[in-house]
Amino acid sequence: MSLLASEMHGSLPFPILTALILIPAAGSILTLISSNLRPEITKLIALLTSVFTGALGLWMLASFKTGEASYQFTSQHQWISSWHIGWHVGVDGISLFLVVLTGFLFPLVIVGCDPHHDEKRYLAWILLLEAGVMGSFLSLDLFLFFLFFEIVLVPMYFLIGGWGYDQRIYAATKFFLYTMVGSAFMLVGIVTTALLAKKDLGHISFDLVEIAESANFAASTGRWLFFAFAIAFAVKVPLFPLHTWLPDAHTQAPTGGSVILAGVLLKLGTYGLLRFGVYLFPEAALWSRQIFLTLAVIGIIWGAVAATMQKDLKRLVAYSSVAHLGFIVLGTFAFTAEAMGGGVMQMINHGVSTGALFLLVGMIYERRHTRLISELKGLQKVAPIFAAAFMVVMLSSIGVPGLNGFVGEFLVLIGSFATARWWVVVAATGVILAALYLLWAYQRVFHGEPDEANSTFRELRLREGLVLLPFIGLIIFCGVYPKPMLDRIEPSVKAILVRVEEKTGYVAPEPVVLTTEGEEG
């Protein structure tokens, strides 16, 4: 590896991606050392840091060159030279919106969710989590990626364990250990990949771009390595049958934790499958696609059926996540441009709509101190605006045309139809089931006459409304006009597909629809 450090910021004057990782980390330390006597200053520091990070993300989005598949704003430096490990970060169409979403969610979580106690530590953990998530999405070095992927566990563990509900310690420990088991395999996979790359590169390398460009793995080796990576991501997604940590973690986590967990943390899994699974080991991914398609479809149905039967509103949303993430995996392993692009789109959409749903459920809990559906009744009568907001978010989660949820799901289903017909047939019923469990839940919670406990349910407050407004805005915008997003996602997705075709001789079917026109219903 050359000892030269390279910086290619495009039109920007400084390494923006490094800043996106380091600023939240610095903010976390600042929060921690700020005075105990002035909690409002601590909160201000945290808020400003996260808003600034979000603004940087938007700036990056604005300067992103549309139509380019390669990594942009890259910066590369030597870090551990004896092992050829570098600080290599970059962003392409796949990670672009995930980074923007991360920058978007964190300030809203800081404003919208009240930790109730030990606010300083809570904010420090949140910001550290942001740094970790940003780092995971931006890393182009396997070692660096693993580092961030693992480090994310620590703040999330403490957030669930410290600020969660009754079963929080059990849930936090389960979350930590499940993910770590997956990571154990991935670490061995990463080390082996780097060592085997030596044969083609002449030196050991952890650099994703270098390995992808030059290294050729024998089919059987590639499959082993792919599975070592895939286990870690399958736990994170979570893919059936490794999903059992998710309902516990979601239900017990504080609202802010749930929003982040659903919004961006789960995407580490689907993002990883695409970036480090399909991209790095195309042959193995194609070879094992039926396994993943099947697990994804089982996840869609299983998640939906389980969600239907939940008594706890938060648990219901958690299981709906399992189903939604199934669609993303389905799209990823369908190996068509629309389906994969739809999968990436769905990552963002799920982050927005499920994030908002968790916020709303959190607000219900704040008011009523229960999440049991049976305890809630007739809220629409006493809090019509709240109900309307819930309705919009819920419809987006169901995937009603005109809202963002539809775009991703539709693209995934239509794109997968050519290559994975029967899986799509089953998965499509998942869309109907989603309508079933969400509408049924809405009916039970919001319709009818409120009983005594529910008659004092407070209407949406201004602050809560302002937090929800960006979510609803995005839900509608992405639903009506997804073209700007798709334009930026598509080239990178197609580049992955081209790579799969080159490496395996697989031929992706011609697009069934013109992706940017087909879903503006």
Binding site: W79, I80, S81, S82, W83, F146, L147, F148, E150, I151, L153, V154, Y157, F158, G161, G162, R168, I169, T173, F176, L177, M180, V181, A184, F185, L187, V188, V191, T192, L195
Partner: protein
């Protein structure tokens, strides 16, 4: 029959300066302690730290000298002066300084007399240094005994605690057995190769061809040698003494055993397998493989079910020893260059970690050294946030979290294993380390997520004296520094690959 003249070996005094410094310091310590009375006890600690730091500085210079002049064997081929030795000596001197500092307050709290504990520390460190440098089995044995006997006494140095006495006696009896095995192993190897010199054994074994079936004595010797050293490094199934001894011994002594004791025994094992036995790798490698797997699995599983933190950490140290064994297993593959540096680096990192961890435990166990159950840690996050934060860093590092030194250590041995295609051992070890993570999580839960005790159960407040605070802060700093910027330590450990033969 003329008068026989005895020829003395020429001695490279400069190279053994660190040993002489410590030896002289120990003598002075004992003489002063015997002739005077009622010194403030902290002075002995300060003296010991100064000795250790002096030795450390000389070792740094020696490291530089070896860069320039190359490695060499001195005193009749009995002592190797190479980067490997210096790496270990620096580690041992550093550990000696840290443990002495953390002991100062402990002795005051427990109202124990000072001087002899420090003399024993220095004596043990001397033994450890001789072990790591020895290029002769007999010298190795001398170092081993010097270290062990000092440790037996140290383990039982809390005279009013029955557990401490018990742990010393247990350690002594089982350690005596192990020494006997080790010595018998030396004898058998001497019998089949005709030399006790470690590089000499290596030469004989690589040049002489043993007829199949004719090497039983040699194999038995190797086996006994491994048993003896495996006992000292505490790997399964030679680990039975560890939990009892670690739990019963005064906490600073436990940290000394887990750092210096492990350092010396592992370094000896490394040198023996890398210098004397490389040509018999096919014979000993499967044994090491089994020991490594057993240690990571059994250590991790048993650690999780403990309720006493010192016992937990004892089992976790067994699991860490298993990880280091992975590095040694790698050395058994021909042409390996990763195993030895990885193991050495693991040793250095683990020594600092374990000293930091046990120093916190020592503070938390409070007067009487009895509160080492996990309940003592409840509410530490509220009462002493800085201490709890440092402990969290140590625990996360032991769990192998990135950005801490523990991750670099694990990464090193896993890389060594993967280089030699030992994927099974790498995966088993990583999965076992997830089990062990549960144990570190339990302590963290107790510190941060459980409330303080109230009412009758209220324990005395935790005091953090300057010396112990310094040790904890220093160890935490090292842990994070190596986690973020590990290049220099990796390079240093790789320099140690060239053993003087």
């Amino acid at each position: 029959m003329g008068a026989q003249t005895m020829t003395y070996p020429s001695i490279d005094w400069l190279a053994i300066t660190p040993i002489i410094i410590l030896l002289g310091g120990m003598m002075i310590n004992l003489v002063i302690a015997a002739l005077t009375r009622a010194w403030p006890r902290a002075w002995y600690a300060i003296g010991t730290v100064e000795l250790a730091v002096a030795a450390l500085i000389v070792e740094m210079f020696l490291w530089h000298d070896i860069n320039k002049d190359g490695a060499r064997i001195i005193i009749n081929n009995a002592i190797s002066i190479d980067h490997f030795t210096m790496f270990c000596w620096i580690g041992i001197a550093g550990a000696l300084a840290l443990v002495s500092l953390s002991t100062a307050e402990y002795l005051r709290r427990e109202s124990l007399e000072g001087p002899e504990v420090y003399a024993l520390y220095i004596c043990a460190a001397l033994g450890a240094m001789i072990m790591t440098a020895s290029n002769d089995m007999i010298v190795l044995f001398l170092g081993l005994e010097t270290l062990s006997i000092a440790l037996y006494v140290l383990a039982s140095s809390h005279r009013r605690r029955a557990e401490s006495q018990e742990s010393g006696l247990k350690y002594f009896i089982l350690g005596g057995f192990a020494s006997a095995f080790f010595l018998y192993g030396i004898a058998l190897i001497y019998g089949s190769t005709g030399t006790t010199n470690i590089s000499g054994i290596g030469n004989v074994l690589s040049t002489e061809v043993f007829i199949k079936g004719d090497d039983a004595m040699l194999l038995a010797g190797i086996a006994l040698l491994i048993v003896g050293l495996a006992f000292k490094v505490a790997v399964v199934p030679f680990h039975f003494w560890t939990p009892d001894v670690y739990q019963g011994a005064p906490t600073p002594v436990t940290s000394f055993m887990a750092s210096v004791g492990k350092f010396a025994a592992f370094a000896a094992l490394l040198r023996v397998v890398a210098t004397a036995l490389p040509s018999r790798a096919e014979d000993w490698r499967p044994v090491i493989w089994v020991l490594a797997i057993l240690s990571v699995v059994v250590g991790s599983v048993l650690a999780v079910v403990q309720t006493d933190v010192k016992r937990m950490l004892a089992y976790s140290s067994i699991s860490h020893a298993g990880f280091m064994m992975i590095g040694i297993e790698s050395i058994g593959h021909s042409g390996d260059v990763d195993g030895l540096p990885a193991t050495l680096m693991y040793l250095m990192i683990y020594s600092v970690l374990v000293i930091g961890t046990f120093t916190v435990v020592s503070l938390v166990t409070r007067t009487g050294d009895n509160g080492s159950d996990i309940g003592s840690f409840r509410g530490l996050g509220k009462e002493r946030p800085a201490l709890a934060l440092a402990m969290t860093v140590f625990l996360l590092a032991q769990a192998g979290m990135p950005l801490t030194s523990g991750f670099i250590a694990k990464f090193g041995v896993i890389k060594a294993a993967a280089t030699n295609h030992s994927y099974a051992i790498a995966i088993i070890a990583m999965v076992a380390s997830v089990i062990a993570a549960l144990l570190y999580l339990r302590i963290m839960i107790s510190m941060w997520l459980s409330d303080e005790e109230s009412g009758d159960d209220k324990r005395e407040a935790i005091k953090v004296p300057f010396t112990a605070g310094f040790v904890v802060a220093g160890s935490a700093f090292f842990t994070l520094l190596v986690g973020v910027w590990p290049g220099w330590l990796i390079d240093a450990s790789q320099a140690a690959l060239q053993l003087a033969k």
